[in-house]
């Protein structure tokens, strides 16, 4: 379903020290630093898998998601998703994927949620029957009926996130990318979103790739975990293997997952 082979991506970042003098200096000569966001990243994900993609901030998670979803072009390496190269067959590719960015909204700010959905229906050329059926299903599962007529700007974060998830599934994508979908949500909303994702996977065999810092998300959703640090894949396996890698699993077993992760990050020196 998804294969990434030897993908590299680097960015040029402008650098300067603090202070007005430095500002003036950088006006004439700007110093750049090349940041290697991804270095030789390879993995394959099969259809219907639920994969947690984790790593510390700046490890390259978002870059990977952006390459897989066709926003970015990698410097080198190959990547196919459902038989397509994301950045080359962009229009065809994006019809089959759904993307949720937890920190950004895809809904139109000033209009009722249902109007955003209607526009998405047009954008993705979803037929009327399919749209109605899917909308009914999503409304029921995510309990949207109360909030569909509210403008997005007046929704709480939890309500909005449920709408975001629904919006990314209206066109029934085969693959769902979730970039920190539970960030800032309360317990009830978190559970609702998690349960829903699991249900989608079970019923429609949707492939789910999830990046998060919330280890409970991983525990609840992901059957497989890919750990990335400093642009390289460091571990690929089950959550149990992750615990083992962190070392001393007897002692670790009693600790919560956040401690396991912190220990692992330190051990692998990727902070």
């Amino acid at each position: 379903m998804i294969t990434m082979e030897h993908v590299c991506k680097s960015y040029k970042v402008a650098k300067r020290k603090a202070g007005i003098g430095e500002v003036c200096k950088s006006f004439f000569r700007r110093e750049h630093e090349v940041v290697h966001a991804l270095q030789d990243v390879s993995f394959t994900i099969g259809e219907g898998e639920m994969v947690g993609y984790i790593g510390p901030n700046g490890a390259g998670k978002s870059s990977t998601i952006k390459i897989l979803s066709g926003i970015l072009t990698p410097d080198s390496g190959s990547c196919t998703v459902d038989g397509r190269i994301p950045w080359k067959n962009r229009t065809e590719h994006v019809k089959n994927i759904g993307v949720v960015f937890g920190q950004r909204s895809q809904l139109w700010w000033d209009i009722p949620v249902i109007d955003s959905f209607e526009l998405l229906k047009e954008i993705y050329s979803v037929s009327k029957e399919n749209y109605n059926r899917k909308l009914e299903e999503l409304t029921e599962l995510l309990q949207l009926s109360e909030i569909l007529k509210t403008p997005t700007r007046q929704l709480s974060l939890g309500q909005r996130m449920r709408c975001e998830v629904a919006a990314s599934l209206l066109h029934e994508p085969k693959i769902l990318f979730l970039d920190e979908p539970t960030i800032g949500l309360d317990a009830v909303s978190k559970l609702a979103v998690r349960d829903f994702i699991k249900k989608m996977n079970r019923e429609h065999n949707t492939t789910v790739i999830l990046t998060t810092h919330d280890m409970q998300d991983i525990e609840a959703i992901a059957e497989r975990v890919i750990l990335i640090g400093k642009g390289q894949i460091l571990l690929d396996g089950s959550l149990q293997e992750l615990r083992t890698a962190a070392g001393g699993q007897d002692a670790q077993e009693s600790l919560n997952l956040d401690h396991v992760m912190a220990a692992l990050y330190k051990k692998l020196d990727i902070m």
């Binding site: 994006v94 960015f101 047009e122 993705y124």
Partner: protein
């Protein structure tokens, strides 16, 4: 995606923009009124100038008014449709462009659609009025060919300005620097385009022909329109803007391939 589908999608995008703005009704009315007044003062400036003069380099009040109206109308319409390119750096910085690339339709359609500037209908009212005045007061002998030329000038002008906005927007892909330099060209053209370009002398005329082809939509067709030249081909010069637009589109496409995205 078929053209019909694209157009219907564009209209939907634009309709949402209009509805979003209508959520804040008072600000909408004030915006229309304010912009209408700004455009009106520009007209007054010309009116008062011709109180003391009868003509500038052979151009009468009516001629200048016609020229002003054409450029003003093109500029306003280009802002109405192409404002998305003008605020494109904001679209990139907020990560909105990432989202646009995730939609199975043209990013150009989305950039133009999400920033449909209904507020520009204010100055549009003004320029429609001045255009009517210009049409009746200029020395043009109106027939099918001259009317067609006038239409071409306006459409060519819109495309020219949109091309410039697009060029400016494309720079966002290559540099995070401010690209106000292009505002000098667009606003400059709008300001100086009020008068036929040759009143500024040959140097400016050349610059506006070979660097940024303003003269294609203004000076040359105007010569034919006002009967200063009998060569009707001059009236078709605005079509040449298509070449300029194609170049801008090429730069844009290269830019999209070079897109770096931002943040997480």
């Amino acid at each position: 995606m078929s053209l019909r589908k694209s157009i219907s999608l564009y209209i939907r995008y634009a309709a949402i923009c209009v509805r979003s703005i209508m959520e804040y009704k008072l600000s909408f009315v004030l915006m229309i009124f304010g912009r209408c007044m700004i455009a009106f003062t520009e007209f007054l400036a010309i009116r008062f100038l011709f109180d003391g003069l009868t003509e500038i380099k052979g151009y009468t009040y009516g001629d200048v008014l016609l020229c002003f109206s054409v450029i003003h109308m093109s500029f306003t319409l280009s802002e109405l449709f192409g404002n998305g390119f003008k605020v494109f750096s904001g679209i990139v910085k907020s990560g909105e462009f990432d989202r646009m690339l995730l939609r199975p339709c043209s990013p150009i359609l989305q950039v133009m659609g999400t920033r449909f500037e209904i507020g520009r209908t204010g100055p549009l009212i003004t320029s429609t009025i001045t255009l009517c005045l210009g049409i009746s007061e200029s020395q043009v002998s109106w027939n099918f060919l001259t009317a067609f030329t006038l239409l071409l000038m306006i459409i060519g002008g819109i495309l020219l300005f949109i091309g410039l906005y697009m060029l400016g927007a494309s720079f966002c892909f290559f540099t995070i620097e401010d690209t106000s330099i292009l505002n000098a060209l667009t606003y400059g053209a709008k300001e100086h385009g009020k008068y036929p370009i040759d009143v500024y002398g040959r140097g400016v005329l050349r610059f506006c022909t070979f660097v940024i082809p303003y003269t294609l939509v203004q000076y040359y067709p105007l010569q034919f329109l006002l009967g200063r030249s009998t060569n009707w081909v001059l009236g078709l010069y605005p079509v040449g803007v298509v070449v300029f637009l194609a170049i801008c589109y090429g730069v844009w496409c290269a830019g999209v391939r070079n897109y770096k995205s931002c943040g997480s």
